[in-house]
């Protein structure tokens, strides 16, 4: 066989190799066109080879096959390039195909364009001698025409999309080499220069596929392709070399002559295996290496994402896969929140500034919603929407060095947007996102969109189901569940529970309103969360109660933590007071219990901690108690009465100062307050109130009219009936009293009594117009004794009412103005003489004018 045959063989092998690679691949129009190019190459090279080998039916037949390949090749190239340049097929394009095919068929039948070569024997060797006439120029002219047209298409594309056209450079070079090879054949007779050019072309195509990644080669790296190719090569090698090898063995190693066939078979098998391995390596490295790696990573990512419902884990996996596959260093993720905004919630580095946020009408959001496709920054800048971007927004995007936006869209809803920074190449150079990257991003997009949406929904539902809306801590149900879990986990080590109950929280709400109350609860929750951190779980156990579960904590450590939290809560309003707004000090009663020291089951733990809280409440509040068989640990102790006494003592000078001021302005009110305090204390005692309550009512009696200090003297001491305007001014003394007392935070317990002492039982009083039992008990007591003292006192505009008459007046008002249950008790006390009316002081005030 001549050396020329090997050239054809090599070229044919290259093309077959490509064909085998592409056969199992997922095909699109571009791939079909490329395969058509390959087919024409195979016809050409294969025909040429078989012609030279003079295989049956005849060398002439194979000549025509080869010629068909050559003449149809320009058209197949034309189609491929047109498809690559994304130019739609027109009639003029197809004309080339029709003409070339017609020419080929005519030539096959008549050999008019180019006759088959003559087989000439010279020196025992066979040669082909071609005889070309001028008519061959018609066919080659058509070929050149198709090629020129193709180059025009490329030029057109180069203007429109230079990047895409640039990718064709190598392939075009291959075509030029092919043309030169075909021209050369007529210069160097008999040497298959055209086929050699074909080999170069194949190498160039190989290079194009490798470096430019013209195609998305999916699923071609199958083991089957490798087997086919390895067997093909082996068969050819065996066919050509087996005989020679056999002869060499028999000649050189006569001793092995008998088994020479076996040796050849073994060598061939080993060679086939080695060829297979080399092919596999080649496929993995060059064709499918990156592809398979991407597929593998995508599959890993899909697995990771589908097994998690936590948004952070999904983002972490997404960032990791994008970093590894695309080599993108900066990735930011914005996700839609409940207000329809898209704040940045995750980024590749915790050191990134995540203050970026987009509104629902942000141009990028709109375009992402509409297109739902990957968008490169440079394309975004050419959109109309970009024009509506604020300079500030542009600067933010530029500062993040974003190159590509990836929408996460599910069922038409934009869930989020991923911002991708520049790709880094092997030498740290920036690279643009190519087709493969975009296609990979599409896969990531489809997997992530659903995952993010689901996780967002799950997290929201979970949050709503587990957390308290006001404070963001766990809610009671979830806490109890967590407690059971923790109990199982830590019952053999230790588990502590602290319950905090805010003291006098109802009063706090009454004083400052529910909004302030909620704010206080939020503040307390923030303190608890900040202090407990990762050491335990915190929850809002009930309206004003918080619980903290501390695994691994003993009583001592839990107590330390409780003290720390209590101290911070006590400080809340101390700090707020600095801006001249005084708020009641917030305190908590705190109960602690721990397994195994003082409980053995989760329920017992809870109930013991509850008991400890109850005990603190009963013994004066604002304290910490550790549950044991006996209560062993108290921070603040003693009876409530002592506590109030101490508070009263602390404020006594202030109260005296205030009452003295009233005395100076209006002596009646001073005396009246003292009498009311006296009556009120007696009625509270008679009604069965505790000593603490009696003390409170007495103090409330002293302070109930303190607000009169702000009423003008002409109204306060008016001799005669008050006008409506004056009466309105007079009514304000209740609010003024409360305002003054509010500045004595530790005396605030008298406020409910003071604020309600002009309320009527039927709800027609002032200032809040509450009725019945909604009026605090202390206020109902004050109301009776205040009216009684006013009636029995002598005023400048009236004589004092006789005590009997006043008592009857009270009885008449029972159920309308006064509490119907308290009036009989008070009247009975007066009638029986157990309570002596105070009648000696002189009166010249005017309040009861208004009564």
């Amino acid at each position: 066989m001549s050396g020329y045959v090997y050239i054809s063989l090599a070229a044919l092998y290259c093309y077959l190799f490509f064909m085998a690679v592409f056969l199992p691949a997922k095909k699109n129009r571009l791939i079909f066109n490329f395969m058509a190019v390959l087919l024409t190459m195979i016809l050409w090279t294969g025909g040429s080879l078989l012609m030279r080998l003079q295989v049956l039916p005849s060398y002439r037949f194979w000549y025509h096959v080869s010629l068909a390949g050559i003449w149809l090749l320009p058209y197949s190239y034309f189609c491929f390039i047109r498809e690559f340049c994304r130019i739609p097929a027109k009639g003029s394009h197809r004309l080339w195909g029709i003409l070339l095919l017609a020419g080929t068929v005519i030539n096959f039948a008549t050999e008019w364009f180019l006759a088959a070569p003559e087989l000439v024997e010279s020196n025992g060797r066979m040669y082909f001698v071609y005889h070309m006439g001028p008519q061959v120029c018609i066919m080659y002219g058509l070929c050149v025409g198709a090629v020129v047209h193709m180059f025009r298409l490329v030029r057109k594309t180069r203007k429109r999309d230079p990047e895409r056209a640039g990718k064709l450079n190598a392939l075009l070079l291959g075509i030029v080499i092919l043309i030169l090879g075909n021209v050369g054949i007529s210069v160097i007779n008999n040497f298959p220069l055209d086929i050699l050019a074909g080999i170069f072309n194949a190498v160039i195509m190989f290079y194009s596929l490798y470096s430019l990644r013209l195609f998305t080669l999916t699923g071609i790296g199958s083991r089957g392709s490798c087997y086919v190719l390895a067997i093909g090569i082996s068969v050819m090698a065996f066919y050509n070399l087996a005989q020679t090898m056999n002869e060499v063995i028999q000649e050189k190693i006569p001793s092995m002559g008998s088994v020479s066939v076996m040796v050849v078979v073994v060598v061939t098998t080993v060679a086939t295996w080695l060829i297979y391995l080399v092919m596999k390596m080649l496929f993995d490295r060059i064709f499918i290496g990156e592809e398979a790696s991407r597929t593998e990573k995508l599959s890993e990512y899909t697995m990771a994402v589908s097994s998690s419902l936590r948004m952070n884990e999904i983002f972490q996996a997404m960032v990791s896969v994008l970093e590894r596959v695309l080599n993108v260093k900066k990735i930011y993720i914005c996700v839609e929140d409940e207000d329809g905004r898209y704040p940045m919630v995750y980024s590749s580095s915790p050191l990134d500034d995540r203050s970026f946020s987009m509104t629902g009408d942000h141009p990028l959001v709109r375009i992402m919603e509409r297109e739902g496709e990957c968008l490169l920054l440079r394309d975004f800048k050419r959109t109309v929407e970009y024009k509506s971007l604020w300079e500030d927004e542009k600067e933010q995007i530029d500062a993040m060095k974003v190159e590509c936006f990836l929408p996460l869209k599910d069922n038409g809803e934009l869930v989020g947007v991923v911002f991708l920074g520049p790709r880094e190449g092997k030498r740290g150079r920036r690279e643009r996102f190519d087709n493969d990257d975009i296609s990979f991003l599409r896969s990531i997009q489809s997997v992530s969109s659903i995952a993010v949406k689901n996780s967002r929904m799950y997290e929201r539902t979970y949050r709503e189901a587990c957390t308290d809306r006001l404070t963001g801590l766990l809610n009671r149900e979830h806490f109890l569940k967590t407690m059971d879990e923790f109990y199982e986990k830590y019952k053999n080590s230790s588990l502590a529970l602290i319950i905090f109950s805010v003291d006098d929280f109802k009063l706090y709400n009454q004083l400052y309103g529910e909004a302030e109350g909620d704010e206080a609860l939020r503040h307390i929750a923030q303190i608890i969360r900040g202090t407990v951190g990762e050491s335990g779980r915190s929850c809002r156990y009930s309206g004003k109660e918080f619980a903290v579960l501390l695994p691994g904590y003993d009583i001592f450590s839990a107590r330390g933590l409780a003290e720390n939290i209590s101290a911070q809560i006590n400080d809340i309003n101390r700090q707020r007071g600095e801006d001249d707004t005084y708020f009641k000090a917030l305190t908590v009663s705190c109960g602690i219990c721990a397994i195994p020291y003082a409980a053995t089951t989760a329920r017992e733990l809870l109930s013991n901690a509850d008991l400890a809280v109850y005990h603190v409440k009963r013994t004066g509040k604002n304290g910490i108690m550790v549950y044991s068989d006996q209560f062993i640990s108290e921070k603040t102790g003693g009876a409530a009465r002592d506590q109030h006494r101490s508070k009263y003592e602390e404020y006594a000078p202030t109260i005296y100062a205030l009452t003295a001021a009233i005395d100076a302005k209006d002596h009646y009110t001073f005396q009246h307050s003292k009498s009311v305090a006296h009556y009120a204390e007696a009625l509270a005692r008679e009604a069965g109130g505790s000593e603490e309550f009696q003390e409170i009512v007495k103090e409330a009696g002293l302070l109930h009219d303190i607000g009169k200090i702000g009423i003008p003297e002409n109204i306060l001491n008016k001799k005669g009936k008050l006008t409506d305007e004056e009466y309105e001014v007079m009514k304000k003394h209740v609010a003024s009293s409360v305002e003054i007392i509010r500045h004595l935070p530790l005396m605030d317990y008298v406020i409910p009594a003071v604020i309600g002492h002009h309320e009527r039982y039927d709800g027609r009083g002032y200032p809040r117009r509450v009725a019945g039992k909604d009026i605090p008990l202390a206020a109902r007591i004050l109301c009776i004794v205040d009216s009684f003292d006013a009636m029995v006192s002598k005023r400048c505009y009236k004589q004092s009412m006789p005590v009997d008459e006043a008592v009857k007046e009270l009885e008449r008002g029972a159920g309308t103005q006064f509490d119907p249950e308290l009036v009989p008790i008070f009247c009975e006390m007066i009638r029986s003489g157990r309570l002596k009316p105070i009648l000696e002081y002189h009166v010249d005030g005017a309040e009861e004018n208004a009564l």
Binding site: K329, P350, L351, G428, Q526, I527, G530, F556
Partner: protein, 545 residues
């Protein structure tokens, strides 16, 4: 442009100027930077609710007014805002919160906000540390993309965890093991894996606390040494050919010199950076182990990375754009310790004197939260210029924490409160005590020396040998102080020494000297005198008899 791009463009001179150019400043230029940045910070800080809270609503206009109006602060002044992470009260919105333990504080941890500007400066400073750690003279350094780091520092949320993140944005370096894996490993796993990877890829940089670096270095030596012949073969199989050659060569040399294998036999470090306290106790040993003297860097949770040594390894320089520095002279600090109401005066960088010891006061720039903050560290000024470094700015040496805190190996900070807690919890009949930080005579390693005096009842009725006391106290130290626990767990160190004094010694001392011995770090001479007194007491009693 990232640091890596600058390296690729071979802009070596510009890189040096950008990152280490501050070393060429005159003190006037240095103060210009300080003053200008402080003015920016005053504008940010003083209008913030946090600043308003501390200044009581006043707004200083000049640096002098700032120093007069703003009191010297401690973490207590910031705790309510920073622990609750009230970002709306800060001068600038933070990007990240860094935390550390707060020994003796009212909360287990301290948190500090880092703003965008602070992080940018931090990155620059870390790169400056990297550059200077590889330099042997001015302008020369050796950093390449792909360099490997053996990293023995704590991960986020501790301040040292910022280093890998900061570097990642600037240069592609490889941490051994990768940070994402390291965060899930125990300390010893991390070391083992880091070393294994180092054996394959080599180690170019080593960052660590001085004490931890020493411990890791010893384990590196042990790991490369130990094992049966089979595992040695396996180990060699996993090494790069270059490393196998080095390993065999090193083994041969060690046999010849009859010594153990040291990390320097296997690795050639480009840069060795150590942080934390008590580094001077370890530097010589570390140099012997690695063949490179570590460069010391000063970094803290509140101020971030503020100072670095140079190629001369003779004193550190403060970066001019990280914090505004003030210095409390030692005698002023002591006076303030005796009388907390006394307001000590502070000096500025251009007022410090060579040889003097100062407590540092920092105002964090670039929107930081801390102003005139006593971070609790003592420095000695070594000089105002240096011929060796060709610098004209003051150079300092880190001394220790302030005297009322005992810091052991950069791991734990023991205060009077914590010792009182431990004694109370232990239930031991300890009547009186004083604690000192001392150093072992052989290798100069730090330890806590507790001098205790028992109650006579305890001495009679309880088993209170020195060992029992030590064991007992150690258990409670570990209970109340996680860092103390880690000190034992990670470094295997036993930093407690207990000396039992004769009953009545403290009282006698008070009687004779008319003064009370300070609980923490009293003058060592006073303690020695008290110990001597025990014998004098005995002699006196003998005479009386």
């Amino acid at each position: 442009m990232t640091f890596e791009e600058k390296l690729k463009n071979k802009e070596y001179e510009l890189i040096w100027q950008e990152y280490c150019g501050f070393l060429d400043l005159t003190i006037e230029e240095y103060m210009t930077i300080q003053n200008r940045l402080l003015k920016e910070q005053i504008d940010l800080w003083c209008v913030s609710p946090l600043g308003q809270k501390i200044t009581g609503g006043r707004r200083p206009a000049t640096i002098e007014e700032f120093r007069n109006m703003v009191p010297l602060t401690t973490y207590d002044d910031y705790a309510d805002v920073l622990l609750m992470k009230k970002e709306e009260m800060l001068p600038e919105k933070p990007i990240i919160w860094i935390q550390t333990t707060w020994e003796g504080g009212k909360h287990p941890i301290k948190t500090a906000p880092y703003t965008k500007g602070m992080l940018k400066t931090y990155k620059t400073n870390v790169l400056a540390c990297m550059i200077l750690s590889t330099s042997s003279k001015k302008g020369e350094f050796d950093i390449e993309p792909g360099d490997t780091f053996l990293y023995a520092l704590a991960p986020l949320p501790y301040t040292t965890g910022l280093i890998p993140l900061g570097l990642k944005d600037e240069i592609s370096v490889e941490f051994l093991p990768p940070v994402s894996e390291a965060v899930n490993m125990t300390f010893s796993e991390r070391n083992k894996r880091g070393f294994k990877m180092g054996m394959k890829k080599g180690i170019d940089f080593f960052f660590g606390l001085g004490s931890v670096a020493y411990y890791v270095s010893l384990s590196v030596a042990a790991m490369s040494e130990g094992g049966k012949s089979g595992s040695k073969l396996k180990k060699m199989m996993s090494m790069s050919p270059d490393m196998v050659l080095r390993y065999l060569k090193a083994k041969k040399q060690c046999r010849r010199e009859n010594r153990d294998l040291k990390p320097k036999d296997l690795f050639t470090l480009k840069g060795f950076v150590c942080a934390g306290t008590d580094n001077r106790c370890y530097k010589d040993d570390l140099e012997d182990l690695w063949g490179v003297r570590p460069i010391e860097v000063f970094s803290g949770t509140e101020p971030s990375c503020i100072g670095i040594e140079t190629w001369s390894r003779n004193g550190l320089y403060f970066f001019p754009d990280t914090c505004f520095y003030e210095f409390i002279p030692e005698e002023e600090m002591r006076r303030n310790m005796e009388d907390p109401t006394y307001r000590p005066r502070t000096l500025l960088m251009d007022e410090v004197q060579p040889g003097e010891v100062y407590e540092i006061v920092l105002t964090v720039l670039k929107g930081g939260a801390f102003a005139r903050y006593r971070v609790g560290d003592m420095y000695r000024c070594l000089g105002l210029t240096s011929r060796e470094d060709e610098t004209r700015i003051p150079r300092f040496e880190y001394i220790d924490r302030v005297p009322d805190i005992i810091d052991i190996a950069g791991f734990t900070r023991i205060s009077k409160n914590s010792i009182e807690n431990v004694i109370q919890l232990s239930g031991l009949g300890i009547q009186d005590w004083t604690a000192l930080k001392e150093f072992t005579p052989d290798k100069g390693r730090p330890y806590l020396h507790l001098y205790v005096e028992l109650t006579p009842e305890a001495a009679v009725h309880s088993a209170v040998s020195r060992e029992i006391l030590k064991e007992h106290l150690t258990i409670y130290f570990k209970y109340v102080d996680q860092d103390y626990h880690d000190l034992k767990r990670i470094l295997g160190m036993d930093p407690l020494k207990v000396t039992v004094l004769k009953c009545g010694t403290f009282a006698r001392y008070r009687e004779y000297r008319g003064k009370q011995l300070r609980r923490i770090n009293p003058d060592i001479h006073d303690v020695k005198e008290m110990v001597r007194m025990q014998e004098e007491l005995y002699m006196q009693r003998r005479h009386q008899r």
